[in-house]
Amino acid sequence: MNALATGAADAIEIRNLVKRFGAFTAVKDVNISVPAGSFLVLVGPSGCGKSTLLRMLAGLEGPSEGEIAFVGQTVSSGAGGVIADAGRRNAGLVFQSYALWPHMTVAGNIAWPLKVARWPREKRDRRVKEVLALLGIGALAERYPAEISGGQQQRVAIARTIAPEPSILLFDEPLSNLDAKLRIEMRSELMRIHRASGATSVYVTHDQVEAMTMATHVAVLNNGRVEQFGKPIELLRNPATTFVATFLGTPPANLLPARRVGDMFVFNDTPLVSGAVAPGHAEVQLLYRADDVAVGAVPDKPSVTARFAEAAPIAGRTMVTAMLGDLRITGMAEGYFSAMPGDAVALSFIKSPDAVFAVSGERINQ
């Protein structure tokens, strides 16, 4: 079954999915569907339910309500539990711990799922060689998992998962145990493998940078709920909630609480924007990108004075963070900038806010 050859039905369709563990609801009414060949990233802070969602996709947990369909076929549902067994849904899972079988060699680890699937010997051997080469670990074939490094174990885990050519690849925070440099390397490696296999991938991470670089579709999860689902750029441009707005993006965006005074919204005694942006609201939260906050006073633009906290050079400019009471505000300075912590620094809001949110967190459409 080749994922690219399927017809109109979405490769993965999740409808009204709920998962409860006793009184605790880990996943609340999730609806997501992606076409074949997509790279879906589930991103959110730890404990948001993203791993549980992935385990339900893998067939390791049954949902409490709702259903999951792969290419139009229901594989799990609240009523029927796990309908198609984990092994029967043509999906592969890369575990966070890699879960390599310690008593088998690298080649043995990759070959075993093929043995279980009753591949003939020759075809099996050929495929093992192929994936070993694809991951660049041919030299390790006869080693045991305990004898190779973490990064190599990671490659073996991926090789083992893609060997049976599943049409759906599931990744559970696969890069979280690697060091920063290796993580970036493996990120491109994974995308290469995703393209090479043509499978539909679901990738769980708490790292928003991974989500933004790899995904064709992103679902931001928080407290078991999908806060927003869409293309990465779309989420960045039009965040639906304050959670999404502050969770995604580098450098982080600023969210300023403002009160209506007269016909203006005022932040910390500084009038920022006309009250017309949010008719009927007495209090709002204003989203300013770091790019839209300049360091130093700018004529005709509202500005506040904050206490300098830290500076980090980024691509020829400097990201400056200052404290205003308990609120962190991040802006960009041209060139290199430095100051002593605690120094007064003026921050100017050179554009109108990128988005306006109600106090409850939802976006107010302008």
Binding site: A58, A86, F95, P102, H103, V116, Y144, A146
Partner: protein, 582 residues
């Protein structure tokens, strides 16, 4: 070059002191404790008398009775007990760790209890129930109540094997359960994702991963059965069934020391051979270091309709091997006629005055001054040995870990593990060979409390080092190093950092040593004399003379001491490390 740097001006002396003296002292201690007795026993069989003894044992008309017959019995016992323990211990471990059986904690606790009960308790209980009238004396409970017990079930190999399985299966359980719970859920789920069915996952993944543990469990229970003295002595000797350990005891008891030493060496060879072989098999495979997944979850398989039946089987095994023996011993210690366990109960055997009709005028155990002496001696022995063992173990483990990879560490750790290969009764024989006669100006230690302590500490060395290492393993190098950066010296670090963190593990280890000593018979049976009686020995004496009720009563006292120690330990453990609330 490292030698030169040792003499660097700053702190050179301290380096020298802690870097050289301590290992040297440790090597000396271990050499005296372990190497000297073994070398001595070997040498004493190379004298003319010794050579004659070798001949008598291995190549003479006597050798069938002295060596081949006991060897055969010993082997049968070893293999029988090892396989029985694997089956029962493995079954329970599988049930508790890998399934959704109800009451898993309870079952797990019950499976670890039999090891706390001395093997002679089970042997005595067996005798109380199954003894038949073939040898005269009063018959056991079953025969008295009209159930004829055939000889093979009353005496000899079969009951000995059953009693030893009932004792050692909990050791197998502990080892296998630990291995099974290290098989992370991820490994199993990865198999599920590959589409493997449950049997395939069990035989293809779980079983191979725990195979080293299975081999270890088999070889340790084998070694335990081969070395055991109490069960074959109580259930086999009356019908002249000899194992190597009872033969060895008989030889030394009757003054034929050289023959005893030869048998001890042969017993060591047999036991060491099997342990060494299993070690080869295990280390020939790859050491399976599993990366445990999130929180070390284990996958529990649903049993479906089998949940309660399997639970019932596990509970019955637990009851038969823990509660039953204790109840039987308790009832027997109250019943004047050993056949009628539940009638005419009397406290005579506990506190009765002597001179009456019952028990040929013997007084109750608490009227016996020897017993009070023995009780005190036993507890003292347990405490002193626990202390020496844990201190020695910690020092050895620290040195070994600090100098990992050096020749010194290798020698120390190898030497410290030698006693594991030596059955305790053979070890005791070696101590008689070494300390039975005065050495130079030193008086003969034979029969003194000191000899018991030294021999027991030496015997417990492998365990001590093991638990010392696991205790130190819980203290990461960072913690110690961060203390070192503050400028604290070794002693200061030891008391301020290492001790508080290690105390819980040390305590657990010390309690185990204490319990082991209190219920030990095979080590003390040769080293004990009238001046240093211990409880287990007094019980064995009573049993050998046919006063079963007294023996049973003393065994109960031993059980109570062991149980009390465990409870005290449990209570204290939760107190000493308050940040580890359970």
């Amino acid at each position: 070059m490292t030698f030169l740097s040792t003499f660097a001006p700053s702190g050179g002396r301290r380096l020298f002191r802690s870097g050289f003296i301590m290992p040297a002292v440790l090597i000396a201690i271990v050499a005296i404790l372990v190497v000297a007795p073994l070398v001595r026993i070997l040498l004493s069989t190379l004298t003319p008398e010794g050579i004659a003894a070798w001949q008598a044992v291995l190549a003479s008309p006597l050798s069938f009775n002295l060596w081949w017959r006991p060897l055969f019995n010993t082997m049968i016992l070893g293999f029988g007990v090892a396989s029985g323990c694997l089956v029962i211990g493995g079954f329970l471990a599988w049930l508790v760790v890998l399934t959704d059986v109800p009451g898993r904690r309870l079952l797990g606790l019950m499976a670890t209890l039999p090891y706390m009960i001395p093997s002679f308790a089970a042997a005595l209980a067996w005798g109380t129930l199954f003894r038949n009238s073939r040898l005269g004396g009063s018959a056991g409970f079953f025969e008295t109540n009209g159930l004829a017990i055939p000889d093979w079930l009353a005496w000899g190999l079969v009951p000995t094997a059953i009693v030893l399985i009932a004792h050692y299966y909990s050791l197998a359980y502990t080892i296998i359960a630990a291995a099974l719970s290290s098989v992370g859920a991820d490994l199993v789920e990865a198999g599920q994702m590959a589409g493997a069915k449950r049997p395939r996952i069990f035989f293809g993944i779980i079983l191979p991963v725990v195979t080293p543990a299975l081999i270890a469990a088999a070889s340790l229970t084998f070694a335990g059965a081969v070395a055991n003295f109490a069960a074959p002595a109580l259930l086999g000797l009356p019908v002249r069934m000899q194992t190597l350990s009872t033969r060895l005891f008989g030889m030394i008891e009757t003054g034929q020391n050289e023959r005893g030493f030869v048998l001890a060496l042969l017993l060591i060879a047999v036991s060491a051979l099997f342990l060494w072989m299993s070690d080869r098999i295990v280390s020939g495979r790859k050491a399976f270091i599993t990366v445990t997944g999130k929180g070390g979850r284990t996958k529990r398989f649903p049993l479906g309709a089998w949940r309660w039946p399997l639970f019932a089987i596990a509970v019955i095994i637990g009851l038969l091997t823990t509660v039953m023996p204790v109840l039987v011993l308790a009832a027997s210690s109250l019943a004047p006629q050993s056949g009628a366990l539940f009638s005419n109960w009397t406290l005579h055997f506990w506190i009765g005055e002597g001179g009456g009709e019952i028990a040929q005028g013997q007084a109750g155990i608490f009227r016996n001054p020897v017993l009070i002496d023995a009780l005190w001696n036993t507890i003292r022995l347990g405490l002193v040995v626990a202390l020496t063992t844990m201190l020695l173990g910690l020092a050895l483990a620290y040195t070994i870990v600090q100098r990992r990879g050096s020749l010194l560490a290798t020698i120390l750790s190898q030497l410290a593990f030698v006693p594991l290969l030596v059955p305790s009764i053979a070890f005791a024989a070696a101590y008689i060979a070494l300390f039975g006669a005065p050495i130079g100006p030193l008086p003969s230690l034979y029969g003194t409390f000191a000899l018991l302590v030294i021999a027991a500490s030496a015997h417990n060395l492998p365990f001590a080092v093991q638990s010392g290492r696991s205790v130190l393993g819980q203290i990461s190098a960072d913690i110690e190093e961060s203390a070192r950066l503050t400028g604290a010296g070794l002693i200061r670090r030891l008391f301020a950092i290492i001790f508080p963190l290690a105390i819980r593990g040390l305590f657990a280890g010390a309690i185990l040593v204490f319990v082991k000593m209190v219920r030990d018979l095979s080590l003390v049976v040769l080293l004990f004399t009238a001046t240093s009686p211990v409880l287990s020995m007094v019980a064995y004496r009573y049993a050998a003379e046919g006063f079963m009720q007294f023996a049973n009563a003393i065994t109960l006292v031993i059980l109570v001491v062991c149980l009390a120690a465990s409870l005290v330990a449990h209570g204290l453990q939760n107190r000493v490390q308050k940040w580890k609330e359970t």
